[in-house]
């Protein structure tokens, strides 16, 4: 029985951009908040030739991308869908980034949602364009349109053996009425020639030759370079500064300051050094003498936060879900059949390879910006707010991104650049973040603490599952009602596990912190996946059952489990699909086959972003050193649009996940981040890369997310393998050498 309702993740992402913009615009810059609802507004039926496909008379077809490419392959997968309905020759299409036009595009790119959300609209748009081209051809030949068929970028009239290219037809086709998108005939999936086949990344050549332009590569004429000295303590600001020494550094043009924006964009403000080049700006920053007001969070540390978590765990908590009576069932269970443990996860930084940056010029009549952003419309709204220019006078170029992982859904780096550009006046300014800036002023994956209690019966059934969590909630920071429902962003699938447990209780207490946090690759699933899939493994051990067999049995019957967080709109968890990926991964990894001496296995399965994953990890331990040797994945993300791209995303999520349990920990001391660069916040490297195999279920369900779902299973699969090797459980991430001894 639900006692509280959690907020749906997709809506959360969708509304957050607009809510954030509303906060920015409404509270801090005094402009109209009417612009802020752009993301949510109803999309009108637009002429596909104005929005999605541009065809020149010489038949060059350009497909328009309305989402942001950050490495996830959307610049390939989305145009594939359009090209399929348009019967185009894939190798001949060009792809171009859309302008920020909220009337046509929903640019926000996150939540592993781009293919899922675009699948039907792009098919409809492509189909509409194709039908308009067919009509134009039929009119040209004065024949029944049923005799006209699309083929290789043109229309063929079979009986007469006549052929007109789209380029010859487009001037007429584009003026025809747009078919009703809800009834326009979609291509039969049996006839797909592009979707479902391995395609290489559209921009692979540019990215292999140094010509791909990222935000940081923007070089408009008269560019001024800037770096900002931000208060190292979250929430602090400069009281006074002496720029005399900084201004004496060769290449420095000026030193100014910008205000923090403590809501919406959550930008830190600070002292800005403007220079002829990036290096001079960095040198100038070193020479600044700044007195900081460190604000209310100067006393925070990871230690104090952990103590707060421990204290929270001993106090009454908010009951989020309560099926049956978990407390009574646990009390009644024999000690040997009970598990009572705590899992802990630290803050984690995104560490995109391209540090944050944003280039903005604000002139008297117009503004232009080059932004590596997952939220181009929010970027535009921020610049509109700062510049006070009408929206149509603010051009945002969405550039390629050197990684996003959720970090680039933020508006802070845009706000800063807009503030600086406004102060400088009519010259483009790039605000460049150094690695240290990027590491120490991130929006971190929340730190969390999970007290798990459960029990199995003598037949090996789960009789109770109790999950208390306290964490530095994302919702508490971002949502209007975050204070009332801080748990909304923290449980995900942990609130509707696939395992049948009659007595199932979830409790939550907000952990208070001044550390900014937001969406990190797979967001709360990165924690929930670890907790749920480690805990179920512990229950399997309590039941003396093989971890794979235990999971299959605990999942039990085929059924659809409603999304507890969003029962109305969220997709239910289909247990048959979850079991199928577990079975596939186990088969491909030869789960039941003995391993060579010194090699150990662990398994995990998880549902996230409406996709199903399972992973089997093989590890070895030598002299207390962990080596992940092989990971076998099975994924079901609905109909695979670009299997090659899906594999790349899962391979990447595996490595990102490896970083999260073997390496990454952001720790806080005196209100500031202790880590600063890749020496103390380490990344997995080539020599630590396991062999990763990805097996894709050939589903015909609607496509679902894949940028993030590969991540949640990796930590538990490896940690469960470590248990198999050592008999010791890893319950606090990241793994430390002593955990393996």
């Amino acid at each position: 029985m639900a006692t509280a309702t959690l907020v749906n993740r997709r809506d959360f992402l969708k509304t957050t951009a607009s809510a954030g913009a509303a906060l920015v615009v409404g509270f801090h810059l005094g402009a109209s908040s009417a612009d802020a609802s752009a993301v949510d507004q109803e999309k009108k039926t637009v002429n596909p030739f104005n929005a999605w496909v541009r065809i020149t008379p010489d038949n060059q077809v350009t497909l328009i991308l309305g989402k942001s490419e950050m490495g996830q392959g959307i610049m390939t997968a989305l145009p594939m869908i359009l090209a399929e309905e348009l019967y185009l020759e894939w190798d001949k299409v060009r792809i171009e980034q859309a302008p920020t036009d909220p009337a046509i595009y929903d640019h926000g790119t996150g939540g592993s949602g781009s293919v899922a959300a675009s699948w039907l609209p792009l098919r409809q748009a492509g189909a509409a364009a194709r039908e308009m081209l067919i009509t134009a051809a039929a009119q040209h030949w004065n024949v029944n349109r049923n005799t006209c068929k699309p083929k290789d970028g043109g229309i063929l009239h079979g009986a007469r053996n006549q052929y007109l290219t789209y380029g010859e037809l487009v001037s007429v086709a584009a003026t025809l009425p747009v078919p009703n998108l809800n009834t326009v005939p979609l291509k039969n999936s049996d006839d797909f020639t592009i979707v479902g086949r391995d395609r290489n990344r559209f921009e692979a050549r540019a990215k292999s030759s140094g010509t791909a332009k990222f935000g940081i590569d923007s070089r408009p004429d008269n560019l001024v370079y800037a770096v900002i000295a931000r208060c190292p303590v979250f929430g602090g600001k400069p009281v006074k500064f002496d720029a005399a020494k900084a201004k004496a550094v060769p290449g420095i043009r000026d030193v100014i300051s910008i205000d923090p924006v403590p809501q919406g964009a959550f930008s830190a403000g600070g002292v800005v050094v403007l220079a002829d080049n990036s290096w001079a700006a960095m040198q100038g920053r070193r020479a600044l003498d700044i007195t900081w007001d460190e604000g209310p969070h100067a006393g925070e540390s990871s230690q104090s936060l952990r103590q707060q978590f421990i204290d929270n765990a001993s106090k009454p908590a908010k009951v989020v879900r309560n099926d049956g009576d978990a407390n009574a069932a646990i009390a009644a269970a024999p000690a040997a059949k009970k598990v009572d443990i705590v899992y802990e996860l630290p803050f984690a930084a995104h560490a995109c390879m391209e540090p944050m940056n944003c280039t903005v010029r604000i002139g008297p009549d117009s503004a232009e910006a080059w932004v590596p952003t997952q939220a181009p419309q929010w970027a535009q709204d921020i610049i509109v707010g700062v510049s006070k220019l009408p929206k149509e006078k603010v051009t945002v170029h969405t550039t390629l991104m050197g990684g996003g992982f959720g970090r680039r859904y933020q508006g802070d780096f845009v706000m800063e650049a807009a503030q600086v550009a406004k102060a400088v006046g009519d010259k483009p300014v790039m605000v460049l973040w150094t690695r240290e800036d990027d590491m120490q002023h991130d929006f971190y994956r929340p730190a969390s603490y999970h007290h798990m209690q459960g029990a199995v019966d003598t037949q090996g059934n789960i009789v109770a599952w109790k999950h208390f969590q306290t964490s530095t909630s994302i919702a508490a920071m971002w949502e209007k009602n975050g204070a009332e429902k801080p748990e909304a962003s923290e449980f995900a699938t942990a609130a509707f596990i696939p395992y049948a447990a009659k007595n199932y209780r979830i409790e939550y207490t907000l952990g208070k912190s001044g550390v900014p946090r937001a969406w990190w690759r797979s967001v709360e699933h990165s924690s929930s996946g670890f907790v749920v899939e480690s805990f179920v493994d512990e229950l399997a051990a309590a039941a003396n059952t093989d971890p794979y067999e235990f999971r299959m049995r605990a999942i039990g019957d085929d059924r659809k489990i409603p999304d507890f967080n969003d029962p109305k709109e969220g997709k239910p968890l289909d247990t048959a699909r979850q079991k199928a990926v577990l079975k596939l991964a186990a088969e491909k990894a030869e789960w039941h086959k003995p391993l060579p001496p010194g090699v150990y296995r662990g398994i995990a399965g998880y549902f996230s972003f409406d996709s199903y994953t399972a992973g089997v990890a093989e590890i070895s331990l030598k002299d207390g050193k962990l080596s992940v040797q092989r990971i076998v994945y099975a994924v079901d993300c609905g109909r695979p649009v670009n299997p090659n791209g899906i594999k790349a995303q899962v391979e990447g999520a595996a490595i990102y996940g490896v970083s999260a349990f073997m390496k990454d920990a952001i720790t806080i001391n005196k209100g500031r981040v202790e880590q600063s660069n890749f020496n103390d916040y380490q990344m997995p490297r080539m020599n630590e890369t396991p062999k990763i195999e990805v097996h894709i279920v050939q589903s015909t369900e609607e496509p679902t997310g894949i940028g993030e779902p590969g991540l949640p299973v990796i930590a538990p699969a490896v940690c469960n393998a470590i248990f198999s090797a050592t008999g010791k459980r890893i319950r606090r991430l990241p793994i430390k050498p002593e955990d393996l001894a």
């Binding site: 950050m70 490495g71 990344r201 921009e203 692979a204 050549r205 540019a206 990215k207 292999s208 030759s209 140094g210 010509t211 791909a212 990222f214 590569d217 070089r219 001024v224 060769p250 290449g251 420095i252 043009r253 000026d254 300051s257 910008i258 403007l274 002829d276 080049n277 990036s278 290096w279 001079a280 995109c352 390879m353 391209e354 540090p355 390629l400 991104m401 050197g402 990684g403 996003g404 102060a423 400088v424 006046g425 460049l432 690695r435 790349a648 995303q649 391979e651 990447g652 595996a654 490595i655 990102y656 660069n677 890749f678 020496n679 990344m683 997995p684 490297r685 080539m686 890369t689 062999k691």
Partner: protein, 174 residues
């Protein structure tokens, strides 16, 4: 507290102070820059010369995104002062192949290595240097040589395959 500095922004007179003319060979052509000799090569390339193929990742030679070749050796340009480059031969991602694509680049595309792609200039520069030293590297050689280059997207498995493929391409096996 926003200062309005639009009219105060001046062309820095200090910019030239301490600068000197430094000549080196860049991708086969003589190049002279007039900058502080302490300025890292990375920023000379990116900001002074607007050659943005070489990337900034960490500024401390920890990630390899800025890798270029100096006299044929893979070098982190973010900690290499331009003064030390005078008279030397610098090759960047823009200059590794006189015509068309270098076999390493061909292999990168064939294996569909890049994801975000930001680190790949540095990865490719390291891989080219590796293959110059070892024409047919083992996995262990690759691990050893390439571990200075971070890829946050986790394309390592494909990089490894691409280096083997490039080795085959260069030796005429593929």
């Amino acid at each position: 507290m926003i200062f309005t500095h639009a009219d105060l922004l001046y062309d820095s007179v200090l910019a030239k102070e301490g600068s000197m003319a430094i000549t080196f060979t860049l991708n086969g052509k003589a190049q002279t820059v007039d900058v502080s000799p302490e300025m890292p090569l990375l920023w000379v390339l990116r900001d002074t010369l607007s050659m943005t193929g070489t990337k900034f990742g960490c500024g401390m030679a920890l990630c390899g995104a800025c890798t270029v070749h100096i006299n044929g050796e893979a070098t982190r340009s973010c900690i290499t002062q331009i003064g030390s480059v005078a008279g030397k031969k610098v090759t960047t991602i823009e200059g590794i192949s006189a015509e068309g694509l270098h076999p390493v680049q061909q292999a990168w595309i064939a294996e569909d290595v890049p994801q975000c792609g930001y680190c790949q200039s540095g990865q490719i520069m390291s891989a080219v240097a590796l293959l110059t030293k070892k024409s047919n590297p083992s996995d262990a050689d690759i691990d050893d040589f390439m571990s200075g280059n971070i890829c946050r997207c986790g394309t390592y498995q494909r990089i490894r395959k691409a280096i083997h493929r490039a080795a085959d391409l260069q030796s005429g096996k593929a």
